[in-house]
Symmetry: C2
Subunit: 392 residues, 2 copies
Amino acid sequence: MLEFTITATDGAARRGVLKTAHGEMETPGFFAVATRAALKGLDPVAARRAGVQALICNSYHLHVQPGGDAVAAAGGLHPFMGWEGVLATDSGGFQVFSLRHGQVAEELKGRRRLPVADSADDPLEAVRVDEGGADFRSYLDGSRHRFTPENNMELQRRLGADVLFCLDECTPFHVPEAYTRDATERNARWARRCLDAFAGLGLGERQSLYGIVHGGVYPELRRWSATEIAGLGFDGFGIGDCLGETKADWYRVVDLVCPLLPAERPRHLLGVGEPDDLVEGALRGIDSFDCAMPTRIARHGQALAWGRPRFRLDLGAADRGREDGPIEDGCPCSACTRFDRAYIHHLVRAREMLAISLLAEHNLTFTARLLARVRDAISAGRLRELRLELLG
Amino acid sequence: MLEFTITATDGAARRGVLKTAHGEMETPGFFAVATRAALKGLDPVAARRAGVQALICNSYHLHVQPGGDAVAAAGGLHPFMGWEGVLATDSGGFQVFSLRHGQVAEELKGRRRLPVADSADDPLEAVRVDEGGADFRSYLDGSRHRFTPENNMELQRRLGADVLFCLDECTPFHVPEAYTRDATERNARWARRCLDAFAGLGLGERQSLYGIVHGGVYPELRRWSATEIAGLGFDGFGIGDCLGETKADWYRVVDLVCPLLPAERPRHLLGVGEPDDLVEGALRGIDSFDCAMPTRIARHGQALAWGRPRFRLDLGAADRGREDGPIEDGCPCSACTRFDRAYIHHLVRAREMLAISLLAEHNLTFTARLLARVRDAISAGRLRELRLELLG
């Protein structure tokens, strides 16, 4: 089941409620990334306290360890990891193809340019794609595995999340248009197979499937993919694949794609979640986001904060050691209500785990509070004013 | 201030309450080790939930980073680290002399035998002791520092804990008796200087000072040290220095020392805290313990548990991945009430931080619950029966 109710609109922006078998999330909302069935540094109770409404786990990592059987034996991810809220699983396609394309995650954000290893004979080529699926190696022990749309749906069924994503190849930025076209067309064929497999498994009662729009930075391919995927009648829609090199690039992609998707179904922007992204995405009609950044930068001693370069306060910086006061005035998180910056600076310098937990809680709280403001602004018809206020 | 009230006795064992300016702890009780002003993996709220009554921080580590001034600027360790309960600081002598004697911590427990570097000309000799104090190098940047009884008391005053310990040299196991005698005698002279410095700083209102009994494994030296230190009139007494190679060794030391200490003052056994140690120590008249073990073994994927070799359940072991049920039935900690062993096994294997936090909380909860049983057994006059029941 996946009920999606839009309760307010403001231009292209929508406020709504996504209802699953494991509770609801308000949209625009955020899926915090719990790759291996755990948020890095926070238990589920602390995550709830931070305002986390939904988590997304990764099928590739969980397939490699502990495996779908182990999770199924525990009754699925919800009981396994003690999470009672909305939960999604990524297909793992993104991670599988990271092996093919190098650090595709970095490249999708425009920070790296890596050569594409195209030869199937390349000994470094860890992934082989054919029409049927993708062969890949475990990052743990090098063992060989294969994902097909069909076995990936079966895997995600056993993992038991509320929201599943279709298996797809996620192309990096610097591939020729022809490569992206081939991948986009194959992704559409895989999406249909995922939908068939999903229907065949009879999961619709408790689980829902999102299709993913591809096409890289090429408008024609995006248009084709959005129309094709929208026509298949998924429960919701992800906007995936390479979103370009700059923020303006992904604004263009989202501006192009959203109007082609059914207005009444939820839209998820994959792998994006900087503070400005959340506002800009909501303005363009995005209903949910996921991003590992809030917990990842916590491990680097960084806190999300307004008025700082790239919205980051570096708690490891020397100045912080002399600073009274919380990371952010008025923030209700454990870090801000109970500790001065000077203490968190000390923890970061001392490499104490507690620094990571406190900063992860702050960064997720920051993200949740920002989205609450976005939702209220939509209800009040003033999301553009909020953008001006926050982002200038 | 340090009020100590004995509320029940059972042979040599005593139950009591230790009252400080920052709250009380029931004794026999446990100081959890927060070396760098943080428990590894737990924030103060989680520590309270685990039943932690008291923490002990390390003056050496805090002197090196962030420094006494930074802690004093925050108003002392209690506000700095957000801990509102009983708090102690070790003098740092143990850590300083770990540099001199190699891994003294390991050796004190009888697990290693290292040569003693005695030559002051040894380029590897990082510590030099003279009558006045000890020169040592920072473990962070190699910079030179000096601890004297006087400046160590000043440092601990600025750190602001409730219970302070005298600066001392902690000798390792395999040193000649003559070396231990010299150190024991110098430690007694340093103890007097600590007491004078402490009195001179006028701290008695809010802070208290423990003397430490030395003498290694040599009964005559232990007897001499206990009598000497007891005669100086400290607020409480630590039993420190090398406690021998086997558990029987330390039982003998404690059996010898406790009767020589004033019955009405608290006695702390330094660096000891295995489950059997807590019972055996309490039986011999120990009022408090400190030990890094509960949080340290958490980082190695181990949970304290009854009926297991050395009271440890290895959550990383392959069998755990198929096990339903909590680490320990009836344990009220977050790990046991919310997760199966199979999930914690997965977290350990995946090297997720959450494993460490959950296991630290369990291990501290286990320790707190055991000591609650010890206290109840003392009140009921059946501590020997409890020992039999728990340890056979």
